[in-house]
Amino acid sequence: MAGAAGGQRVPAIELRGISKAFGPVQANRDISLTVMPGTIHGIVGENGAGKSTLMSILYGFYKADAGEIRIAGRPIQIPDSQAAIRAGIGMVFQHFKLVEPFTVLENVILGVEDGRLLRPSLARARGELKRLAADYELHVDPDARIEDLGVGMKQRVEILKALYRQADILILDEPTGVLTPAEADHLFRILENLRSQGKTIILITHKLREIMAITDTVSVMRRGQMVATVATAQTSPGELAELMVGRKVLLHLDKKPAAPGRTVLAVENLRVTDIDGVERLRGVSLTVRAGEILGIAGVAGNGQSQLLGVLGGTLPASGIVRIEGQAIDLSARNAGQARRAAGIAHVPEDRQREGLVMEFLAWENMIFGYHHDPACQRNRALMDNAAIRAMTAERMERFDVRPPDPDLQARSFSGGNQQKIVLAREIERNPALLIVGQPTRGVDIGAIEFIHQRLIALRDAGAAILLVSVELDEILSLSDRIAVMFDGRIMGERRPEETDEKDLGLMMAGMRGKAA
């Protein structure tokens, strides 16, 4: 199938007039896209812009309502993923689809075994893997178990799986979300290799920096439509952001220097061991002062969640935590109420799992965790729903939640508006300490700007803020001090002006970084 019509003239992928609706929602509207072979094509857009739907159509998960797909010049139907694989399309999902207890080799042949007996398939795959490793610098131990591999390695296995199925077109969905900067760099080298060998790559991401660094051409989607396709060399992050949102966006935050006051949070030698006996926090110590933001950088899964859990009261721990000088009891498993009483507000990492009850209405969510507040009660027995509703309406107005309707279920708001509901709830308490996990994950650019401004405003009002984020950009632009976590420890602390992504990246990978 590769180069069926020969030469560089025929596009590897050509989509014409693709449309797809889910009920009343038009996810894709008359989309046309041309990707030339041997190029890396980026697709950017806010959440819900229709990127994933478009790629799912290309990979046979959804059937388009209208439109035509041509691969290497030939019109084809892609009713399922098997057909996509036959057409030479491979997909690397954001959440890997690997069998954890199986070896790399077993995962690679899964579904494409040659016959009932595995031995010949495994032997063939071993040879093929060796060749792929040599051709593309994709080295993975074929006999390693998936569960023993790091995230970057697992991703390589996914790429190998696609190449083993003879993919000429590789689609990667947010591939760097879970990688350290170094791992991401390595991935980009692999992609460049693949490109130089004639493979076509589609890269879906919301990180404009990556688009600028590696793609040849880039398409921008907004509200189900393809609003622009440009050569990367002829555009800028600012222009792309504007195209994505449909208006001018501030990519850089204006903030005054911090004026740190008294110490609000003091953590000493915090340790957490999980049910499997693995130590997740190995003696973490840190302080946060009033009027400053301490950013915790790190690759997901290095203990940040446990740190938030302990401070938020969902996880017991050993060590000492003081709030405004008062030691708090770390032994209880269920201390959410006690933490709130101590003045800690918590914006959890996963708003849909923890921060909100998705079936609850907006006003029910606006008191979630603070429902013991006397202001919520009409009398000893009954809650004052009318007052809560009115309070919610007012807060939704102030935090620009759209639509500002307290009687809508949390699940019917977009990600950014859900996050604004959580933020409104926590910030309006005027907490002494706000702990925030991934405040802008899955949030569109317009809302990111708003959320960042709110956090800065809270800091300027004198609150201490502990910010956990895997987005280095966010850490660098919001924090007054940055601590890097790796393997349950704080690797080091920096001021944002005296560090950069490379330095932080080294610490995130477990190295001490440049001499401080």
Binding site: T314, G336, H346, P348, E354, L356, M358, A381, M383
Partner: protein
């Protein structure tokens, strides 16, 4: 994002359409066994709704189902599947019997609150053990409540045969309750208003208590902090933990309320109807409560309507078996179809209706 359908369609139209489908299929089954479905419907309607006598039975059954349906619904709200309504209602009967037989009650108005309290306490106590095991040990509540149904039956069997049976009596039952515990029937209640209601039908004042229970459950679930916490825990355990809601407390509270409601059923069947405690007094009402809660979408108002429907089916089906060649099992088939269509096949009805509403909306400018 907009809702695909108006709320009234979701709450009224879908259950109604499901019911129509269930009845249509039932008609086909009746045709298949060589009987006349139209005559069968006529018989059911006249047998269950045709006279105040018929109504008296339908409402009596409905009262049972309201209590057991509410019991399942409250537990459902905390994402707990209480299959033990049967056993909890049996123990509720024991509570009623002990109270009614222990004192020479002068008037039903004194006996009723005491007996209701006894029924609720015994039912709640029977639910408390599985609840505690679930909350602290993680023993699955479905398994433990089923087992407790069998234990309840065995306990009652032992007590009725060996302990509570009056000397010389042959059947395993307690003595008749004293007259001071006899509850007024709907006949007695309606007579002062000049409404004639059958004297022979078993429906009694407990029906009004059942309605009050619906209101009370609604208030607890949607107007109190406890209900708020129960619903939050039921929707999302990680979120509940984040909010500092204590799972042990919620599991215990929801199951105690659930057990108390199931136990309260005994006021209707033991105190109101049989006026003594017999073996197998519950007659499967605990299990029908599951269907009632499913169909009523775990909402007290829905449970009330679904209980009326199942009361109608239960009484109409009994009449059907009595007067026609259609076997009594047929009514189980009809009930099963109703449950199947309103519970399991909900989406089958929902999807086409949603599409219809979308098409209608697009049609409008």
């Amino acid at each position: 994002m907009r809702e695909a359908m108006p709320k009234w369609a979701d709450l009224v139209l879908i259950p109604l359409a499901s019911l129509v489908l269930a009845f249509a299929l039932s008609a086909l089954v009746i045709l298949a066994i060589g009987e006349d479905p139209v005559a069968a419907v006529r018989m059911m309607v006249s047998g269950a709704l045709g006279s105040t006598y018929a109504w008296g039975y339908t409402l009596y059954y409905a009262t049972n189902f309201i209590f057991t349906g509410l019991a399942v619904a409250v537990a459902f709200q905390a994402r707990l599947f209480n299959i033990g309504g049967e056993g909890q209602a049996m123990l509720g009967g024991l509570g009623v019997a002990l109270i009614c037989l222990s004192l020479p009650w002068p008037h039903w108005a004194l006996a009723l609150p005491a007996a209701a309290l006894g029924a609720a306490l015994f039912g709640a106590a029977w639910a408390a053990i599985p609840a505690w095991l679930q909350a602290t040990r993680g023993s699955h509540i479905v398994i433990t409540t089923i087992m407790f149904n069998f234990i309840a039956a065995a306990v009652l069997n032992y007590l009725l045969v060996n302990v509570m049976r009056p000397i010389g009596a042959m059947d395993p039952a307690t003595a008749k309750f004293p007259p001071g515990t006899h509850l007024p029937s709907l006949h007695d209640l309606l007579a002062p208003f000049g409404i004639a209601f059958s004297r022979a039908a078993p429906a009694n004042i407990t029906f009004l208590i059942a309605i009050a229970a619906c209101v009370l459950v609604w208030l607890i679930l949607w107007r109190t902090r406890l209900g708020y916490e129960i619903r939050a825990y039921g929707q999302s355990e990680p979120a509940a933990l984040y909010a500092g809601i204590r799972p042990v407390r919620i599991v215990m509270a929801a199951m105690l309320i659930s057990g108390a409601l199931a136990g309260l059923m005994a006021v209707n069947n033991v105190m109101g109807e049989a006026e003594r405690l017999v073996l197998n007094a519950v007659e499967g009402a605990g299990f029908i409560g599951i269907a009632v809660a499913l169909m009523g979408r775990s909402h007290p108002f829905g449970v009330f309507l679904a209980a009326l429907l199942f009361g109608f089916l239960y009484q109409g089906g009994a009449e059907l078996a009595l007067w026609t060649d259609i076997p009594r099992e047929m009514i189980v088939v009809i009930q099963a179809l109703v449950i199947l269509f309103t519970g399991a096949l909900d989406n089958m009805v929902r999807m086409p209706l949603e599409r219809l509403f979308l098409a209608l909306r697009r049609g409008r400018p």
